[in-house]
């Protein structure tokens, strides 16, 4: 098949399969030899993208005067080489770590169809990226979810909690969950509430750089998380991510205290109020505070979650009418208020009405670090009188997750409020030391 001069070959060219070797002669008579690659989603109109012999991709504008010649029978992209075999000698189950995958950057690769990154689908693909993960003992990978973390919903948290329970029931020493970083903090908090008695570590881990980059933080984060998952010192849900810009130190954050605080940095995860629980470095795990000891006995899932809770970030100008409309239909709402836990007094009326209807209204601070306190200013005192529950130094997102968990366990508002205020999974502290906020 050859396009002839003068005709417009665009319709033919646009439908060529990717991987087709081609020679294009442009309107000036120059020849371009290469391989058709998928059209980039932001590529211009009538642009044919080809990969040249040199490896460079270029876009050529196709119109009348352009001709082409196919250079070989069309072939699709060569099948990827067989990934390294994942058949390993059977290892004693008790020593294994289970790696639950959920999608996200840590398990993503560049997608040349869309130009973006897409989740890795299979265990073998994952172990291809992280071939030396099992250096210290067997690691079983188990795909649980397959989505970027912004698409994760509360129902998924219950599925994950069940998968963690199952892993320990099957004899795993520890569980690592590879998760997208965007909502990793929410999932960590949810698992902390859903899994109150753990026989070993549950370490959530992510990557801020995709694993097809030589500089991905995924590999070292995952290695640190697997190392921690072999620890016999803790039985709780934590997040393990870079402690700084370097690949040699990893912070351990409590599941209820952690938050993504930077959109791009490797050390995006912080515990804003009290700092990390400990660190993993090349060979050792060390603790800033004592971790929760493992529970002896099988884990149980303390569900369910009731998704009829919400989170509302207050801002100057927030309309009370819209806020009230938003709260309608929810059994409870967490407010991220200003400073010590404030919201404009124009909102007092709807808050009173909501509380009277039996809706739980709880207050956290959008400062993220530090505790709320209603008694310092008149606004706070008014809000307390209106029935708002002040949640100490609980992070807004953690408070939202805890609300769903409390709603799942209690019918009456009073019971929900009581649960919110009861320290659970080390989520609240009465004491904040100066060095914890740095």
């Amino acid at each position: 098949m050859t396009g002839s001069r003068g005709e417009d070959p665009w319709e033919q060219l646009r439908s060529l399969p990717k991987g087709q070797d081609i020679e294009v002669t442009d309107a000036e008579g120059r020849r371009w030899v290469g391989t058709v690659i998928p059209h980039h989603e932001f590529s211009g109109d009538r642009i044919l993208q080809i990969k040249l012999e040199s490896g460079y991709n270029v876009g050529l504008r196709i119109g009348p005067g352009v001709s082409y010649r196919l250079r070989s029978p069309s072939r699709s992209t060569p099948p990827p080489p067989e990934p390294p075999s994942t058949d390993r000698p059977a290892a004693p189950e008790r020593e294994s770590v289970t790696l639950l995958t959920t999608g996200g950057t840590i398990a993503s690769r560049v997608d040349y169809e869309t130009g973006g990154v897409r989740p890795v689908k299979t265990e073998s693909e994952l172990l291809e990226f992280y071939p030396d993960l099992d250096a210290d003992g067997p690691v079983h990978a188990l795909p649980v979810l397959d989505r970027l973390s912004e698409n994760i919903v509360p129902e998924d948290w219950a599925v994950l909690a069940e998968a963690v329970r199952g892993s320990f029931a099957a004899g795993s020493r520890g569980v690592v969950i590879a998760h997208g970083t965007d909502t990793l903090g929410f999932t960590a908090a949810a698992l902390a509430y859903l899994l109150p008695r753990l026989p070993g570590p549950v370490a959530l881990v992510g990557a801020q750089r995709s694993p097809d980059r030589p500089s991905s933080d995924g590999r070292s984060n995952l290695q640190a998380a697997v190392r921690l998952a072999r620890s016999r010192e803790l039985g709780e849900v934590v997040v393990v991510m870079h402690a700084g810009l370097s690949d040699d130190r990893f912070a351990i954050h409590r599941g209820t205290r952690v938050r993504k605080m930077h959109s791009t940095r490797r050390d995006a995860f912080r515990s804003p109020t009290d700092g990390p629980l400990g660190y993993v470095d090349a060979n050792t795990v060390h603790w800033v505070r004592p971790p929760r000891a493992p529970h002896h006995g099988p884990p149980t899932v303390d569900g369910p979650l009731d998704p009829s809770g919400a989170l509302l970030w207050f801002y100057p100008g927030l309309s009370p009418t819209r806020a009230e409309a938003f709260v309608q239909g929810h059994r409870g709402i967490v407010l991220a208020g200003t400073g010590l836990g404030h919201i404009a007094e124009s909102h007092l009326d709807w808050i009173r009405r909501a509380v009277d209807r039996g809706t739980v209204v709880a207050m956290t601070t959008q400062c993220l670090a530090g505790a709320v306190d209603p008694y310092v200013y008149a606004t706070g005192r008014d809000l307390v009188r209106a029935g708002v529950t002040y949640l100490g130094d609980l992070l807004p997102e953690t408070a939202y997750v805890k609300l769903l968990w409390a709603l799942g366990h209690e019918h009456a508002a009073e019971g929900v409020r009581k649960r919110l205020l009861t320290p659970t999974a080390d989520d609240l502290s009465e004491r904040r030391r100066p060095e914890e906020f740095e």
Partner: protein, 622 residues
């Protein structure tokens, strides 16, 4: 032989993918460490060059500077391509008559030697198929690309390399010629002409390291070898010639090996530590007081082929040793250089017997504290030896001083390129090209012709002026009424010497400074011979021309003082004047100039001195 040239020129725009300044910095505000892994490209193949680098398992330390941000730290996605850098690339493409692509796609080229924090270099093909005329010959230009410069290496220790982030991300314009250059001399001329063309845009960085050349050389019957990062033009000829010699040597070795029926060495290494316990010098010596293992490996059929043949400085033994060095070993010993290095004939015989060698066989010895690494090195050396039977391995080589080169890594393939998905494709339309055309400066050949014509400058001076990229400053200053040849000499000789002065690495001689100093000299504040010294003081920080002249010791000579100095010299030599008359002028001129050099023009001194001598002769002697 055939050679091709890739010229890499740093641009003086903003950084390519972030908004940091293109400035080097001696201030380090923090460091961090990273490791890199070889990742698969589009079809998941791992490039041989990338695999090789990753196999060395190095730790990279990065120095953060005021000229770097989160993008250089690989902590933030790239910002959009710098528009001025792109515009410059389009201008140069049009100057070379090249075809600009319709849509630019930024690629990631895998480089895991740590010089890029991301593990890849971002690069984009801008144009293809241009040409340049050099000394009457048309040299085809295959491609013009825009890429980011790498971080610069500031320290190296076993297992660890330190890089500074200030250079990372500076735009590099890469111009690659077709492999149609036929001599080292022509390679140099092409490099000079491309350099002049780039400098004509007035948008490029200057100074050492701002332009670097990669050479591709293949001797007759040989193979394409890349010599990467030649910084000095004057060495280009030497690199080309040495490489041709090296390839010819390797082809000769290939023929001998084949005639001996040599086969690829197995790469199996035997532990021979017990034979070398007393060896305390050379590459086998223990390093840092740690126990090391000594390994021996047979190279069947290689006897006598590892040393330099008479009249050559190249040898196969060094090629093998370079592979050991790439793993961080101090080197190896091979049978063609033994006995020696504290190893006697008996020991050599024992090695040969332990390795069960035939007379035509060679062996290599290497030492390391890590058995795993030693065996990996032995494998690498065996592979290199096996390639000698095939001929010349395609590889990348590093330039060394004095025109030699050293093995660096395998030649990267196309597998190392995959799209930079964080940057959308960049369309180029007719308006972009029209704007580039409007901004296009004269080509060097046109410029040289016009400067010679309009300013009456000699050809060699014009050539130097254009090569130095100083034509626009020259014209500006000449149009302000300064003497054309004086300005041209200052710009081509004195300014580079001041800017290249080790004591003033960051100084720049500005156009305003040149203008002011020339003016002062024309007013007679100091002689034109004093101009370079005053410029240097200004560049080093003198507040104004007067201060600079004072620091250069060129101020404060009034007319009376000048007359006094002349009189004093004549007075002191009165006897000579009377004895030799006007012939006394030469020695006396030297004496006066010693005192007033740079402060008074030579012609003026001569005039005064002649008059003073005449006066003295007419006066009666004492």
């Amino acid at each position: 032989m055939k050679a091709g040239l890739e010229v890499h020129q740093q641009l003086r725009t903003g950084k390519l993918f972030c908004r940091c300044p293109c400035e080097f910095s001696e201030t380090v505000t923090g460091t961090f460490v990273r490791r890199l892994i070889a990742a698969g490209g589009e079809d998941r193949s791992i490039d041989p060059a990338a695999r090789f680098q990753a196999s060395r398992d190095l730790l990279f330390r990065y120095e953060v500077t005021p000229s770097s941000c989160l993008v250089e730290a690989d902590e933030e996605p790239p910002r959009p391509l710098d528009p001025e850098a792109l515009e410059t690339a389009l201008i140069v493409s049009r100057m070379l008559g090249a075809r600009v692509v319709d849509e630019i796609e930024v690629m990631r080229k895998i480089v895991v030697d740590g010089s890029n924090t991301s593990g890849f270099q971002r690069t984009a093909l801008i144009a293809v198929d241009g040409a340049l005329e050099v000394d009457g010959r048309r040299i085809p230009i295959d491609s013009i690309s825009l890429e980011e410069d790498a971080a610069r290496k500031t320290a190296e220790a076993p297992g660890e390399v330190t890089y500074r982030l200030d250079r990372l991300g500076i735009p590099l314009l890469e111009i690659a010629t077709a492999p149609q250059i036929t001599s080292g001399r022509e390679a140099r001329a092409v490099a000079e002409e491309i350099g002049a063309l780039l400098r004509a845009t007035d948008r490029v960085r200057r100074g050492i390291g701002s332009i670097r050349e990669d050479l591709n050389v293949s001797a007759e019957g040989g193979r394409r070898i890349e010599i990467k990062g030649v910084q000095e033009l004057r060495w280009i000829e030497q690199y080309v010639e040495t490489e041709v010699e090296r390839q010819q040597l390797l082809l000769g070795i290939r023929d001998t090996l084949r005639s001996r029926g040599a086969t690829a060495p197995s790469g199996a290494a035997a532990v021979l530590t017990d034979l070398f316990e007393s060896v305390m010098e050379g590459p086998l010596a223990p390093r840092g007081g740690r126990a090391r293992l000594v390994f021996g490996m047979a190279l069947p059929g290689f006897g006598g082929l590892l040393k330099s043949p008479p009249g050559s400085s190249e040898r196969l033994g060094r090629e093998l040793a370079d592979h050991a060095r790439a793993f961080g070993l101090a080197g190896i010993l091979h049978s063609d250089e033994l006995p020696g290095y504290g190893i006697d004939r008996d020991r050599v015989t024992q090695v040969r017997s332990r390795l069960k060698l035939a007379p035509d066989d060679a062996f290599v010895l290497l030492a390391d504290t890590s058995e795993a690494r030693a065996r990996a090195v032995a494998q690498s050396i065996a592979q290199r030896a096996a390639q000698a039977i095939e001929g010349i391995p395609g590889e990348t080589r590093d330039p060394l001083p004095e025109g030699r080169t050293r093995y660096s890594r395998p030649i990267p393939g196309r597998h190392r390129m995959y799209p930079e998905t964080d940057i959308p494709p960049i369309p180029i339309d007719v308006a972009d090209l029209a704007r580039a055309d409007a901004l296009r400066p004269e080509r060097p050949s046109e410029l040289r012709g016009r400067l010679a014509r309009e300013y009456g400058l000699p050809n060699d001076l014009v050539r130097q002026l254009v090569a130095a990229g100083e034509a626009s400053r020259f014209e500006l200053l000449a149009k302000r009424g300064h003497t054309a040849t004086l300005v041209a000499r200052l710009l081509t000789q004195d300014v580079p010497s001041i800017e290249g002065d080790p004591a003033s690495t960051t100084v720049e001689v500005t156009t305003d400074a040149l203008d002011a100093v020339l003016r002062a000299s024309e007013r007679g504040t100091f002689a034109k011979e004093g101009i370079p010294a005053v410029l240097r003081e200004l560049a080093l920080g003198a507040r104004d021309v007067a201060t600079a002249a004072e620091r250069a010791g060129l101020s404060g000579l009034s007319d009376d003082e000048f007359e006094g100095i002349v009189r004093e010299v004549v007075e002191r030599n009165r006897a000579l004047v009377h004895e030799r008359g006007t012939e006394a002028f030469q020695p006396l001129m030297g004496d006066v100039m010693k005192v007033v050099r740079g402060r008074r023009d030579g012609q003026e001194v001569a005039q005064r001195l002649r008059r003073a001598i005449e006066r003295a002769r007419s006066e009666p002697s004492a």
